[in-house]
Subunit: 340 residues, 2 copies
Amino acid sequence: MKALPTPPEGETGPVTIYDVAARAGVGIATVSRAMNGSAPVAEATRAKVLAAVEELGFRPSHAGTSLAARTHAANGIVFPDLSGPYYAEVLLGYEETASRLGRSVLVLATHGRPDPDAAVRDLAGRVDGIVLLGRTVPDHVVEALSAFGLPVVVVARPEVAGVDSVRANSVDAARALGEHLAGHDLRKVAFLGSPEESPDVAERWRGVREGLGAHGIEPTVTPCLFDEESGARVAAGLLAVDDRPDALVCANDEIALGAIVAAEQIGLRVGRDIAITGWDDVMAARHARPALTTVRQPMRALGTLAAEVLDQRINATRTTPRHELLATDLVVRDSCGPHP
Amino acid sequence: MKALPTPPEGETGPVTIYDVAARAGVGIATVSRAMNGSAPVAEATRAKVLAAVEELGFRPSHAGTSLAARTHAANGIVFPDLSGPYYAEVLLGYEETASRLGRSVLVLATHGRPDPDAAVRDLAGRVDGIVLLGRTVPDHVVEALSAFGLPVVVVARPEVAGVDSVRANSVDAARALGEHLAGHDLRKVAFLGSPEESPDVAERWRGVREGLGAHGIEPTVTPCLFDEESGARVAAGLLAVDDRPDALVCANDEIALGAIVAAEQIGLRVGRDIAITGWDDVMAARHARPALTTVRQPMRALGTLAAEVLDQRINATRTTPRHELLATDLVVRDSCGPHP
DNA sequence: GGAGGCGTAGGAAGCGCTTTCATGTGGCGA
DNA sequence: TCGCCACATGAAAGCGCTTCCTACGCCTCC
């Protein structure tokens, strides 16, 4: 059991650097130096100061520090949305690394917000650097922030001039997926998702088309929101026609899981009568029956790397833009049919 | 701390309230009043000020504001861990509501951190209030923060004296689950999870025991980490013995999904030879085959409510502790056997 | 016509910290 | 013995904002 610091008698309000200085019999400048090691302090003095800090339970005010030092010791991260396991993992990696580097993390979800740009700008005023995921704000806002001198890293979004970026290699994995599907005996392939909604999805669509195109297959694209219910609805529509697709390539796992339900509802055997694939490899993907063929992304690593890249910029360790591309894995399971 | 770089010659630093005041031909006090509406300002003056703000693109420094106004306009939230869909939903609800109330959100994950208590205390210094989820820090830290005058709300954790709390009604749902299982022809029930690790799990265990006990069934408890791999391993051990359990009641869905895999691996038909239940109703629960019987918690509402309760404390709208208990739903699917 | 009231606005004092600049001290070489 | 130079330290000047207190018109009311 740790003893709690004794609050000063008769004092009101939190302990300040002045209280510590008085207690240690030194000036406030010395307290600051002793605590931060920003300048040499005699060993005896330092000991006195640290003792006073301990006795009074002194915690420097962040507001004071950040005003004087013009630094926030905090990073921001902006999500389109926080639901789904995808972003949570990114945040986890980001927070872990940022905190290891001594920075707090402020989160902002733009989804359903009246004025995302203003919210991001506000966030920008409280942090030393910011990570933007996907299409949360338009390019001109990204550029404005960056031009203003705020370090910015974009994740899962196409490169913006002069701004660091960290991405998963969607194109290669999508191409591999397309080629894998071409290996099955498929002729009519439909892509479910809205490439124009998300740059990341646009890459998936492009890769899939390239992979299939190499084998003479020309997929179609059908817009679809990124949730299960939409996936089920859109899939039901696609499968209701006579000349239905042999394969549904879905922009994410939620859509695919919804599509599986829709296909089964009209009596199709997924993996035999029809192939269905997802993207993200969420937990449900491997527990679904048939298990979902999908693509695994290094989500946690994305967050970790973003935090590191951002830190280099904040500390001015590096001034040239850095663009990271992380590998992704095609995960073949049963939903795309018996393995040839 | 980082050395501040001298701004290049001719470079205009960030716009301050002085710049705005000069441009509008008024004093800084008037700018402040015009922007915050903290005191009456003549309409003509206000227009001049707002025009200057617009032209200069003035954004008040948060550090300055928070130092002068002794407020941060920010809330903290502390998670044990951020992986899994559970906490992400809570965060989503929390962030949404906090931001609607004009507050930013700082997140902190204590999992795998060398000194969680210190991290929480540090966080406490940058926010106006804090939400603690589960067993992230010991009670004495919660009490210390609260005693220090910082509004604190605990979520998914037993009430702490004088501290607001928001919880899901685990006991009732667990009792309902226990009773439901007793309705199937089960004699030997094993609970997988560590009640002593998490207060929330302790409640689940208690409720299950009560529900089964009412029908003369005495379940056993087997410690288990809260991930899939542990669930599979512990379940495999339990099922390997001759007199194996008829039912595995798992502390969360991950454990249950692992247990399903383990059971199937030794040839058991889940839902017929053995009943398995989870907790949380993650997406994978409804896609698993057999679909998982589980308990749905109002996670998003938990986050939203926590933000509201906290806000009342911060604004001193309320000074008596508030303890919220949200209803949870038993979701019966196929993994616990054919419905009687 | 003078005193008081009211609405408006500016000056200036902090908020708690970092950092510069000036000062005091002791050690050292000449 | 004297002067010089590191070194350690304190006083004080901000950092950008809010807010108290005061000042100044101008109007109203005796």
